[in-house]
């Protein structure tokens, strides 16, 4: 009964979404206030419906209702509660439900925090979000109903994919979707502004905090995904340039460009048409990711079960949403003109360079991801594009990005002088080159990659710090001046410092990691760098839904025990999938990573892979700093005051109307 309730709630949500997408839009066009006022209640009704549907599916998982096909395919009576809850988004149908639910959450958030936005604008924004909602709900109801029954019900479920039975993976999809779907808000604002024909600073100011928050979630999601890959399938790797990883990285790159160009549009009224285009692109790339993952046009580890009907549906949906908005763009954007002039040496120019680099990077990744498909479609042959291409493209494009990031933030709007900037950057330049060249000597060997990486990281970090000094110089009371620095500036600086930390992580991990595959019998040990790994033995253990061989390996440094690691080789009972569960001793300066291979011979020996990964945590720490910076920037007092100040206006208007 409860699954039918969920199904019914989905149908109801579709009906409500139809209202949400049409009535306020037409009302805004005709200037009918009562029609426009339909938007808010429609959003709330939809949110309630989605909540019921989502709750119903969760309930089916929690109570082991295997008469629901999706539950039977992705759960099991032995599956722990935490993974039964996360199994809701463990496969295609449920993750769509999560997507649609998050979309209605974002719409609800817009009605709550968007009180300062004029009713006409808000109605259009919510109507556009309603249209997106229609697409996803139709997709679910027509091709991928999560509540489909399976009768007679099987006694036992087929269990959740063991790869997904990991705390990191439980959180990764919701965060990622919060990011993807969050870009729909920026998209809706862009479309609403295009319909309105007015692209002004106010529009940029409204969409800016939303974009930053969505960007923050996407950053967190990608960071967590990378960390999960390292734990679960990475064997020490943290990024694989897999099509699905690329699918999340492209909207991130374009979203990053959008966050920056919105700043120009808000502060200076420039780049308007470009900013709108970026807003359309970020969300389009999020949708494209969905298409790539679910249609089966590309092969990938992450690929969901594929079905041509589904692929065609998403493609049509994609064509309508993106094609429609680009048509609107071609029609409306030519009328938008920015009458703002800026000098070649100015913050505008720096941000323009930032945008060009980010978008070119995203485009090259798109090309690499789609290249196998292009070659195939042209009938030239079949190829696959691997990490060498992506590294060859990504690294040279991001080095100039790192070079301008700190300097760009210091440049003045409109016009600045090279002489002024030179005064600020000469010492950071000298120090970062000197220290960056010398620091790698502390490691076992000097390499130019490490020197380049550290120089860049120091340069980004020092120029970011210099930005603070620039703000405080000449003030009598620096502490009070520091306290007056707006939160947005702190957020930006933190995110930029995150880039520095991230670069340190990549540079040192890729150059100084040591790995070794060894045969270890109980009592034997192996020395890797400064660490001695001693095998104690391998014993069988039982988990809730798997059997495992668990190794015990003690790690010593200078004769002192620093860690005991328990790597496992698991067989999940239902799917019979063997899984390697690596054991990691994490640290700020290094990770020790041990994975069990295969049993070798009678004496209890196993092949064991040992890793020493210096500074790998810095990669994810950098990602977290960027996300936190986004949060700080989005919660700047400016936006909150704006919301509060404007909130009073409609009340007054309502009185006037009465």
């Amino acid at each position: 009964m409860i699954p039918e309730l969920g199904h019914f709630a989905l149908i109801l949500a579709l009906v409500v979404a139809l209202v949400q997408a049409t009535v306020p839009l037409v009302g805004a066009q005709l200037g009918r206030v009562s029609w426009m006022h339909m938007a808010r209640p429609a959003v709330w009704a939809q949110l309630i419906c989605m909540g019921v549907a989502y709750g119903a599916l969760t309930w089916a998982f929690v109570t082991h209702d295997f008469s629901v096909r999706y539950v039977a395919a992705n759960s099991n009576t032995a599956l722990p509660l935490m993974y039964r809850i996360s199994a809701v988004w463990g496969s295609h149908e449920g993750s769509l439900l999560l997507w649609a639910t998050i979309l209605s959450l974002w719409s609800g958030a817009v009605t709550l925090f968007g009180r300062g936005i004029p009713l006409v604008m808000l109605s259009r924004v919510l109507a556009v979000m309603g249209m997106i909602s229609i697409g996803f709900l139709l997709f679910m109801l027509l091709t991928s109903n999560p509540f489909e029954r399976l009768l007679p019900a099987p006694i036992e479920g087929r269990d959740l994919n063991p790869l997904l039975q990991d705390p990191g993976m439980a959180l990764h999809p919701p965060l990622l979707y919060m990011g993807y779907v969050g870009f729909s808000v920026a998209f809706a604002f862009a479309i609403a502004a295009l319909i309105d024909g007015r692209l002004d600073a106010a529009w940029a100011r409204w969409s800016r905090p939303w974009t930053t928050i969505a960007w923050m979630f996407l950053t967190l999601g990608i960071t967590l995904g990378s960390w999960w890959a390292y734990n679960e399938l990475g064997w020490g790797g943290w990024w694989f340039w897999d099509p699905v990883e690329n699918a999340s990285f492209m909207p991130w790159l374009v979203g990053t460009a959008l966050v920056h160009s919105l700043a120009v549009t808000e502060k200076r009224g420039a780049f308007k048409a470009w900013t709108v285009l970026l807003a359309v692109f970020s969300f389009s790339l999020s949708l494209l990711g969905t298409f790539l993952v679910r249609s089966g046009v590309l092969t990938s580890v992450h690929a969901f079960a594929t079905d041509p009907a589904r692929g065609l549906f998403i493609l049509v949906f994609l064509a309508v949403v993106v094609g429609g908005s680009l048509m609107l763009y071609a029609w409306r954007a030519p009328a938008v003109r920015s009458h703002v002039h800026f000098a070649p040496i100015s913050r505008e120019s720096a941000l323009l360079l930032n945008n060009v680099l980010l978008v070119v990077t995203a485009a090259s990744i798109l090309l690499g991801t789609l290249y196998p498909l292009i070659v195939d479609a042209l009938g030239i042959g079949k190829i696959s594009v691997g990490p060498p291409y992506f590294n060859a493209v990504f690294v040279p494009l991001t080095i100039p990005l790192a070079l301008v990031v700190g300097v760009g933030a210091m440049l003045r709007w409109k016009q600045d002088s090279l002489a002024r900037i030179w005064k600020h950057v000469r010492w950071p330049a000298v120090i970062s080159v000197a220290l960056g060249t010398l620091l790698p000597l502390l490691f076992d060997r000097w390499t130019w990659q490490a020197a380049l990486g550290l120089t860049l990281a120091l340069w980004v970090g020092l120029t970011t710090l210099e930005g603070f000094r620039d703000r405080l110089s000449g003030r009598d009371r620096p502490l009070a001046a520091f306290a007056r620095i707006p939160r947005g500036f702190h957020g930006m600086s933190l995110a930029h410092a995150g880039i520095a930390v991230f670069i340190v992580g990549i540079a040192l991990t890729t150059t100084y990691s040591v790995e070794k595959d060894v045969r270890l019998a109980p009592g034997e040990s192996w020395v890797l760098g400064a660490y001695e790994f001693r095998m104690v033995g391998v014993k069988p253990v039982q988990g809730p839904n798997y059997d495992a061989q668990r190794g015990e390996i003690r790690v010593f440094r200078d004769g002192e025990q620093v860690a005991v690691l328990y790597p496992e080789k698991r067989i999940y009972r239902v799917q019979r999938n063997p899984m390697t569960e690596a054991a990691i001793d994490p640290g700020l300066g290094r990770d020790l990573f041990v994975a069990l291979g295969e049993p070798l011979g009678e004496d209890g020996a196993w092949s064991v892979r040992l890793y020493y990964k210096p500074f790998i945590r810095w990669i994810w720490t950098g990602g977290l700093m960027m996300a936190l910076g986004g949060l700080l920037a989005a919660t700047d007092r400016r936006y909150r005051q704006l919301a509060r100040r404007d909130a009073r206006v409609p009340a007054g208007m309502a009185e006037a109307a009465a």
Binding site: A273, S284, G296, M327, P334, L373
Partner: protein, 181 residues
């Protein structure tokens, strides 16, 4: 008008992309059977990975049912399928030849040492030329070749346990019962 054309460029590009995807849906590697199915397997002679200096030729397998598994040490999905392949190879049902695709031999050797070697023979296809002949789209891919040297089945992506049980095992058994040419 010129401005209008300029601002239509994104739309134009997107249109091309949609056409590409439409074609891509037709080409769907998982749905459309390889044109090579029921055709003679393209012959090749390649150096072996683990037996230095020796060569392997498809001619060597005449009269036997065998599997060709395309893999690479850089391929993540291969890791997913690998343990299953190792377990299956222990049963000695059928010879499995590994085609190490666009890979560094050193990495490949280490990979096998670490994860176990399910292959009776591993050959090195460093530049991916044989992969192209066989219509390899992505790695991993697995081909079932019968006694006459004809490709009878192709699996794209990692072999899953249910696929092995329901499709591959019965097929291999049936093919092994066919008379030798």
């Amino acid at each position: 008008m010129r401005r209008f054309l300029l601002f239509s460029i994104p739309l134009l590009f997107f249109g091309l992309l949609v056409l590409l995807f439409l074609r891509g849906l037709e080409l769907d590697p998982r749905k459309v059977p390889s044109p090579l199915i029921d055709k003679p397997a393209p012959g090749f002679t390649l150096p072996r990975l683990l037996a230095e200096g020796e060569q392997f030729s498809t001619e060597d397998m005449k009269g036997r049912v065998w599997l060709l598994n395309v893999w690479a040490s850089w391929c993540v999905a291969c890791r997913e399928e690998h343990p299953l392949l190792v377990a299956f190879s222990r049963e000695k049902q059928v010879p499995i030849v590994g085609l190490d695709y666009k890979d560094e031999p050193e990495d490949a050797r280490r990979w096998l040492e670490m994860l176990g070697n399910p292959y009776d023979i591993v050959v090195v296809d460093r530049d991916g030329r044989v992969g192209i002949d066989w219509g390899v789209y992505g790695v991993p891919e697995t081909f079932v070749i019968d006694k006459r040297g004809v490709i009878r089945h192709k699996v794209i992506g990692p072999i899953r346990p249910e696929l092995l049980e329901q499709r591959l095992r019965p097929l291999i058994r049936r093919l092994q019962e066919e008379p030798s040419p």
